[in-house]
């Protein structure tokens, strides 16, 4: 459902990371030579091939600082882009980079000297800000990462480790556990901890925060293990109208918290009666239990198709970061009204914020918010859900209580719900402010201003083909190809039609839609604006004569007659969200056995 601070794509872009390290190294040395590097100099790096034995850190001066002052924002994003695996940013900054990189890469290791100063933990602790310098420790080494802060792909969060150990933070995001990350870190080494400090620190470090994760279904295709992110195989996604919980896509940002249902308390702030603290049994007994069928979709669903256009930052989801379930719980509206929501609150408040019980080592919880009118409208159907598909919420889906905000991006459906705040402000969380927003394809990490775009709430019309699979064959003697898939739209807009083409979009056929499993009664039509659940669809399309290959395409239409865009490139965005262009699957037409009889 929701997105990661540190890009998963980093894992996949070994080459770019190496290039980043090397490029950074180049830049450092160049900066010592010229006190005023203009932007136009940067491309010339590509033909530069020298060797350096001095360390830049010890020879930097005013010029370097000036350059950083002038250039930091652009420089920062260029490198962040590299780290994120956006090769395009590299292409932008270094058009003709043909340097022999391997030799220089080896050169880097020279910078790790063994005669570095020895520090105590107390000395490290004094360097916790950009003013005093930002020092961290890792496995007994001491690192001054002051300059790295600005280019950390995870943003300012790195400051949380300032003056102390990196290990507990890196344990949260497995992406750090790679050679290339260590390679970057080694650049900043300034000393070692004395043995006593190191021992003390070791004993204080927590164990793996992911050690208590629930077991998962082996069918899930894992995009990230820590935190756990996985989707079911597309081929089985549309086998069930109601997705079984075990294969419902999982989108965690942090370790799964283990919550004692007896000790569980839900806090509610911002109402006229003061802070409310509500137990699980109170939630269940005080408010009517409502059940809705609602599809949840990650903003990054189908991101892999954007990655094919140009690398983006984020988990490389296929087409199955979407699933459909029944959810039961108290209506958020009922709870808010019960505890004092009324006109005087409504006059001031504009948002309802949610905080999860999933926290990082600093105690920062996952957070998001939704507009107040969605939260309190009778037609909004927002639930404080404690059941999924008729059973207690599974740990991966927010046990004991999660928010279900139907029609709204997964990221706002906060799991392991700990706190609700009725407020005049949106959630200040990273995920609300600096993530899960859409931008123009022309916006890059140089130019992006997260304040300029609204936080994603309702999602646009979506559909995808679950059968046949890309690269498979259909038999000409079958005369027809059966095409299946799903379609859904945000904001409660009902899917009213799915068009399917087998010739790449030249001619179109209208698929049959269904709102239940085969043989079951279809769900009654939803009231207008409250169609929260997907539709599965299916159609037998004649195989065109002479076709050697079929380009199967689907596109859906919702009750607002919104259509999917034709192609991916014009909706490409640097975070790889909102990927809802026509879905295309190519299959071969084989001259099968039946024809040859």
């Amino acid at each position: 459902m929701i997105e990661n601070t540190w890009p998963d794509s980093v894992k996949c872009s070994v080459k770019n990371l190496k290039m980043f390290v090397i490029m950074k190294f180049f830049l450092k040395h160049l900066l010592t030579i010229s006190s005023r590097l203009s932007k136009s100099v940067i491309p010339s790096l590509s033909v530069w091939d020298g060797h350096f034995s001095c360390r830049w850190r010890s020879t930097g001066g005013h010029g370097r600082q000036k350059y950083f002052n002038d250039r930091l924002p652009k420089f920062r994003f260029a490198l962040a882009g590299l780290l994120a695996g956006t090769g395009a940013v590299l292409a932008y900054k270094l058009h003709q980079d043909k340097v022999q990189l391997a030799a220089t890469s080896a050169q880097l290791r020279v910078t790790q000297t063994s005669d570095l100063p020895v520090y105590t933990l107390e000395e490290v602790t004094k360097h916790r800000s950009l003013d005093s310098g930002v020092w961290v420790t890792y496995k007994g080494g001491v690192y001054d990462i002051t300059e790295f802060v600005a280019i950390h792909p995870g943003g300012d969060k790195i400051l949380l480790a300032a003056g102390g150990a990196l290990e507990p933070y890196w344990a949260l995001y497995a992406v750090h556990q790679q050679d290339h990350v260590l390679e970057i870190l080694s650049e900043y080494k300034i000393g070692v901890l004395n043995p006593e400090s190191y021992k003390k620190q070791e004993s204080a470090n927590p164990s793996d925060p992911y050690s208590a994760e629930p077991t998962r279904h082996p069918a899930l295709q894992i995009n990230s293990l820590k935190p756990f992110n996985a989707e079911p195989p597309a081929s089985i996604l549309s086998d069930n109208y109601i997705t079984p919980s075990v294969i419902f896509f999982k989108r965690n940002h942090l370790p799964v918290p283990r919550v004692d249902p007896e000790a569980y308390r839900l806090e509610i702030e911002g109402l006229s009666g003061g802070v409310v603290s509500l137990s699980l049994s109170e939630l269940k007994s005080r408010f009517p239990k409502h059940t809705i069928t609602a599809t949840l979709q990650c903003a990054g669903n189908r991101r892999s198709e954007m990655n094919k256009v140009k690398q983006v930052k984020g988990l490389n989801w296929g087409i199955a970061a979407i699933s459909n379930a029944t959810w039961s719980g108290a209506r958020l509206r009922d709870v808010l009204l019960y505890y004092g929501f009324g006109p005087e609150v409504a006059a001031k408040a504009k948002h309802v914020q949610f905080e999860g019980l999933d926290k990082d080592v600093t105690g920062t919880a996952y957070g998001a918010s939704i507009p107040l009118n969605k939260a309190v409208s009778e037609e909004g159907d927002v639930l404080l859900a404690y059941e999924m598909n008729g059973e207690d919420l599974p740990p991966d889906h927010g046990y004991p209580v999660r928010v279900v905000v139907p029609g709204v991006v997964g990221a706002r459906n906060v799991k392991w719900l700990g706190k609700i705040v009725v407020s005049d402000e949106e959630s200040k969380s990273h995920w609300q402010q600096n993530d899960y927003k859409g931008f123009s394809p022309g916006t890059d990490w140089d130019t992006v201003d997260f304040k300029s775009a609204p936080a994603i709430q309702e999602l646009p019309i979506q559909s995808a083909i679950t059968h046949p699979a890309e690269g498979t064959s259909v038999d000409r003697s079958d005369r027809e190809v059966t095409v299946k898939g799903y379609a859904w739209s945000g904001g409660g807009r009902e899917v009213v039609r799915v068009d399917v083409s087998v010739d790449g979009g030249k001619t179109w056929h209208v698929a049959k839609l269904r709102t239940s499993d085969q043989g079951q009664h279809p769900a009654p039509p939803p009231p207008p604006g409250r169609a929260w659940a997907w539709k599965l669809w299916e159609i037998d399309v004649p195989i065109p004569h002479r076709a050697q290959e079929l380009e199967i395409v689907c596109k859906a239409v919702d009750s607002g007659y919104n259509m999917q865009p034709d192609t991916v490139a014009p909706i490409w965005n640097l975070r790889g969200v909102l990927s809802n262009a026509w879905h295309r699957v190519k299959v071969k037409v084989s001259e099968g056995f039946k024809d040859q009889k």
Copy 2:
């Protein structure tokens, strides 16, 4: 805002109409030869080139009837398609039509003999049904149009004239006043009225129902004079954030009714207290006056772009069947609640129907409906408006009272409002049931089932370029081209971004949006889901080096992150509605004066 029964495109498709007459003539004669024509015979017509001196009407028999019984639906739609100017239907039915048509066309006139029987009006009056035959008169001629009823592009409405004169009906739709329509009619002549009957009829015929139309601004570009349909020139559309009423696009289905404000009564049915009759002064004095700024758009806006893909049925709107105004009036919600709307009505009702005071000669009023929740929700902002831009509604915009349903297609914003019915059913009107619906590009007049698609309510995201105009030039020495336009989305979804390209969509720039006229304070941001007004946008884009021509493209994004589809063909539909693909304008780059100095 709303669409015509008889297609405007008929006017433009002289050639197709002639072909229709001729083809119909061909078919008739062929049917006398073969008693069982199979579909596969039809293409063979294309090489048939004979002459006939006999009239088919006098030689028809069982076989002809059988063919019509078997084939009528498909035959009907094929010909309706032709009438509508859909050349593609012709292509479908008659792949290689190379017949010498001119000679046969002349032949037709032979069928108008002067020794036809003489009938009295009483005899004509007996033929008012398909069973007894459908006879009509026109300028003293008597016509048996029984077989034409099924292929009348305006549908069964033609039966309203059965047993009487066509003149009053044709007066309503000026499209009939053409030689080709008379040519079709001449095919069905069976006699003449006796002079006494003709005189009697002449004196009874009403005068031109359009004789009292208001005067209109000369800048308007007229798509249809009777009923009046016109749009402002695109170049002046975006000059004002609030469109002046005189150039606000006009979309009438029928003559403008002249309503005496003193005698005006608004009836309300379906509430618990029985039928309500409300005067204009009561409406103004009993309920608070609310003002909203709302954009109205015709479902057929930008239909001309669909016509370029393949001819569709409907007025050939450019990009300016959309305008923005302030509207003041009573909230529909307030009125319904005042007169007894409550839970017991809500339990049964699902729709609110509206009837206009604009009626055809049979007394059938224009009608439409909207879902109940839109009508009664506080956030729906539906108005019974009596002011437009701070003044009484102009006659063309519904004086004295119209419905304004913000975020919803113009067709539901019923003007000259006469009646409101709270009901469990949608409006039964032609415009709700058999018009203003979207279909797949694969759906043609052979296969269309109007029941299969929902009536259009909310409209999808839309944007268009108002400057520069297609085919104009920009001066290279200006270095930049200024591009302007509008963007709007239905359902209260706010426009959050407009992307502009000058290279056909390869690279994109983000335009500046505005919600007021230059120099005025921008409107405060609307509450979520209540953004009823358009945004104007503007951007200066660098002219690419070496470009000889610019393909300027715009696409907008709304708060649900809905995007416009890339191209027109995949959203083409037989009614030509919902045309919201990227708007494209080509301009030349000239080597201008400034450069040559």
